[in-house]
Symmetry: C2
């Protein structure tokens, strides 16, 4: 899978958080506003990044409307799960890794994890 650069990441975050599709200008404005970055990017820069994200299959674009509108093609969670599986894919003994991973999570999360496992089992 493709890991994201900083700007790509910011754009994806905005797209993931938006219910509506966004235009390049929307994104440029949002990028300027968010964080303490305050750096006004050129729209072409945003468009370049969007094109790359589209090529990576992470965003879909509506070419029908004139200012093209972009949406994330999968949810943030799905993307993160993909990353998790990528990381795990390189491991031979998944169980050892999972054991160590779970050893490091908080007690609360352990509880909810257990709940999740229960529901999976029921199915």
């Amino acid at each position: 899978m493709a890991s994201l650069g900083d700007l790509e990441r910011s754009v994806m975050d905005l797209l993931w958080d938006s219910a509506e599709p966004l235009t390049a200008n929307d994104l440029r404005d949002a990028l300027a506003a968010c964080g303490t970055d305050a750096k006004e990017l050129a729209v072409t820069t945003v468009l370049t990044v969007l094109a790359r994200l589209e090529k990576k299959g992470l965003v879909a674009r509506e070419r029908s409307t004139r200012p093209h509108r972009y949406t994330a093609s999968s949810s943030r969670e799905d993307h993160t799960v993909g990353l998790l599986n990528d990381a795990l894919g390189t491991a031979q003994d998944r169980e050892a890794v999972l054991a160590r991973f779970i050893g490091g999570i908080s007690a609360e999360e352990a509880v909810s994890l257990r709940a999740i496992l229960d529901s999976v089992k029921t199915v």
Copy 2:
């Protein structure tokens, strides 16, 4: 954390699988042998990669012995756990991700996961 290139990855795999520290020559030979690569790398190439891995904190080198000897500074599992946490770190709602992730693992793994969780809880 630092993700690894292909050669870096191969070198780490060899170091992780070796009980003994390895020299650059050991690694070059092992790389030539392993897989269907069959490409004889220059020792300097291996040394460069080792230096980079050392800078990344992934390998430690014994400078006392004359052919320096290299070891992985952490286990493969720890490294993978690090990757998992990196991936999860970018997620706001860890639980949603974990839920979806667990939904995708095999039934067997779900069972062993449950066992792991139990042992964690006991502690």
